[in-house]
C-alpha cells in the first residue's frame, strides 16, 4: 500500500485544499494571484521538498470531504482542531494562533467586548463557526445571529445596523478597522485558538513531515517572519491590495 508521502514523492507534486476565505490567511489579490499566509507557508514547504504545489480551492463545506475522499493530500486552512474534528482527520501541531475578538461601529461608543454582553444586544458571527461558539459562550446575554458566508458578510450586518457588534478573528478584522474605517475592534480577547493543518488519519508520514517542518521554520525564524508580515500587521496590504 502506497502512503500519501510515497505518492507525493513519486508524482512530484503535493495537492493542498485551501479555502479562499479572505485576507490574510488565503485570498486572491488585486493582481489575481492566489496568496496569503498559508499559501506562503505551503509554497515555501513545497519548494523545500522539491515538489510542485497544486492548490485546490474549496468552500468551507468542501474542505474535509475533499481530504477524506482523496482529492487532496492535506488541508491548509485556519482550521481549529476540535475534538470532534480530530475524530475524522488528524491535525498537525498548531501553526499559528487566532484571537477571537469583537468589533462594532465606532459610532456605537462601545469600548470593550463586555459592553456587548447585555440583554437586548445582538451579536453577528459566521454560521456554525468557532467565532459563533465563542460568542455563544462569552457574550451569552446578547442574542447571537449566525450569518452564512464569512467575515465580510458579518461586517455587512453590523454596518447595516442588523447587529450591534460582531465576532471574528483579529487578523481578518484588521483590514476592516484600518484607516478611517467606521469599525473598531473592541478591547479584550474572547478566546484564543490554535490553528493547524489537517491530513488523513493514515497519512502518518506526511503528518510527521508537516510537524517537523513547522518546528523547523519556527526555530529558523521563517515562520515568525511570515506571521509578522501577514498575521500581526497590515504590511501585506502594500503588496497585495
Amino acid at each position: 500500500q502506497q502512503t500519501t508521502m510515497d505518492k507525493i514523492a513519486t508524482e512530484g507534486k503535493i495537492t493542498v485544499a485551501v479555502q479562499t476565505q479572505g485576507p490574510p490567511v488565503s485570498f486572491v489579490d488585486s493582481k489575481g494571484e492566489r496568496t496569503g499566509l498559508v499559501i506562503d507557508i505551503m509554497k515555501m514547504m513545497a519548494e523545500d521538498m522539491g515538489v510542485e504545489l497544486v492548490i485546490q480551492d474549496y468552500d468551507w463545506k468542501g474542505l474535509i470531504p475533499a481530504l477524506k475522499s482523496g482529492k487532496v493530500d492535506l488541508i491548509a486552512a485556519d482550521m481549529t482542531p476540535t475534538a470532534k474534528r480530530s475524530m475524522q482527520v488528524v491535525f498537525t501541531d498548531p501553526v499559528f494562533f487566532a484571537e477571537n475578538v469583537a468589533f462594532a461601529l465606532k459610532s456605537k461608543g462601545f469600548t470593550k467586548w463586555q459592553d456587548l454582553n447585555a440583554d437586548g444586544m445582538t451579536v453577528a458571527a459566521t454560521q456554525a463557526s468557532t467565532y459563533a461558539d465563542a460568542a455563544r459562550k462569552h457574550i451569552s446575554k446578547a442574542e447571537l445571529k449566525e450569518y452564512a458566508g464569512g467575515t465580510a458578510q458579518t461586517t455587512q450586518a453590523v454596518a447595516a445596523g442588523r447587529a450591534d457588534g460582531g465576532v471574528t478573528d483579529k487578523a481578518s478584522l484588521a483590514q476592516y478597522t484600518a484607516g478611517d474605517s467606521e469599525f473598531m475592534m473592541l478591547d479584550g480577547v474572547l478566546a484564543q485558538e490554535p490553528l493547524g493543518f489537517a491530513v488523513r488519519p493514515d497519512s502518518l508520514h506526511l503528518l510527521f513531515t508537516l510537524n517537523n517542518y513547522i518546528g523547523l521554520i519556527r526555530y529558523d525564524g521563517r515562520l515568525q517572519e511570515r506571521l509578522a508580515y501577514w498575521w500581526e500587521s497590515l504590511d501585506w496590504e502594500k503588496d497585495h491590495k
Partner: protein, 228 residues
C-alpha cells in the same frame, strides 16, 4: 456623491474581467449540463409516457428523489461520496462532477416537462399516424414528438434559468463560477458587499434575460400547437 460614484465605477472596472471569467465558467458548465441533461431528460420523459409499468415507476422515483433533495447534497454525493466506492470511472474531477450532477438535476425537470408535453398531444394524432401505416416509433418521431417539442419550449426556458442560477453552488467542489468570483472579490473589498452582489446580479441578468425572452418568444410562436 460623485466621489462614491467614481469609486463604484472604479470597482466595476476592476472587477469586470474577473466577473466575466466567472461568467464564462458558469456559461460553460450550465450549457454542457443543459445539453446533456435535456437529452437524458427528454429520453426518460418519452419512456415515461410509454405503457411500460416498471421503467415508468423507476423514472418516477428518480424524478422525485432529484427534485425532492437540495442540489447541494446531490453535488456533494457525486463529487465526494461516489469516489469512495472505488470504481474507476466514478473518480470525477470537479468539473466533470459538476457537469454530471447538474445534468442529472436538469434531467429531472426536463423529464417531467417532456412527459407532460407528450401527454398533451391529443391521442388522435398518434392514432391517425398508426392508421396511415406508420409504426409506433415512426408515429412518435414524425407526429407526436414534433408537436410535443413546441409545447416544451416555454417551460424549458424557465428550467434553464433555474439551472443556470444553481451553478452558484458549484464553489463547494472548487469551481470558481460567477458567484464565487464575486465573493472572492468581496473579501478584498470590505464595505462593498452589497454593491458587488448587485454587480453579480447584473451579470446573471445579462445571461438569463435573453433565455427568458426566448421563452416568451417561444410561447408566442409555438405555444399553440398549430403552425399559424
Amino acid at each position: 456623491m460623485f466621489e462614491s460614484i467614481a469609486e463604484k465605477w472604479a470597482i466595476t472596472v476592476n472587477l469586470w474581467p474577473i466577473l466575466m471569467h466567472g461568467l464564462w465558467l458558469t456559461f460553460a458548465v450550465s450549457m454542457l449540463a443543459i445539453v446533456l441533461g435535456s437529452a437524458l431528460g427528454f429520453g426518460l420523459g418519452v419512456v415515461r409516457t410509454l405503457p411500460f409499468g416498471w421503467p415508468r415507476r423507476l423514472i418516477g422515483l428518480y424524478l422525485h428523489v432529484f427534485r425532492g433533495t437540495p442540489f447541494l447534497v446531490q453535488l456533494y454525493i457525486v463529487y465526494f461520496v461516489l469516489p469512495s466506492l472505488d470504481i474507476a470511472f466514478l473518480q470525477f474531477d470537479s468539473f466533470v462532477a459538476a457537469i454530471v450532477a447538474l445534468s442529472f438535476y436538469t434531467s429531472s425537470y426536463v423529464t417531467e416537462i417532456t412527459a407532460a408535453a407528450v401527454r398533451a398531444v391529443p391521442p388522435g394524432q398518434e392514432e391517425a399516424a398508426r392508421a396511415a401505416g406508420m409504426s409506433k416509433s415512426q408515429a412518435l418521431y414524425h407526429v407526436v414528438l414534433p408537436q410535443a417539442l413546441r409545447l416544451m419550449i416555454p417551460p424549458m426556458a424557465g428550467v434553464y434559468v433555474v439551472i443556470i442560477k444553481s451553478t452558484s453552488l458549484l464553489s463547494v467542489i472548487g469551481i470558481a463560477e460567477l458567484t464565487r468570483q464575486g465573493e472572492i472579490a468581496i473579501l478584498r473589498l470590505p464595505g462593498n458587499v452589497l454593491f458587488v452582489y448587485c454587480l453579480i446580479a447584473v451579470v446573471y441578468f445579462i445571461y438569463c434575460y435573453p433565455v427568458l425572452r426566448f421563452s416568451q418568444w417561444g410561447e408566442r410562436r409555438f405555444g399553440r400547437i398549430d403552425g399559424s
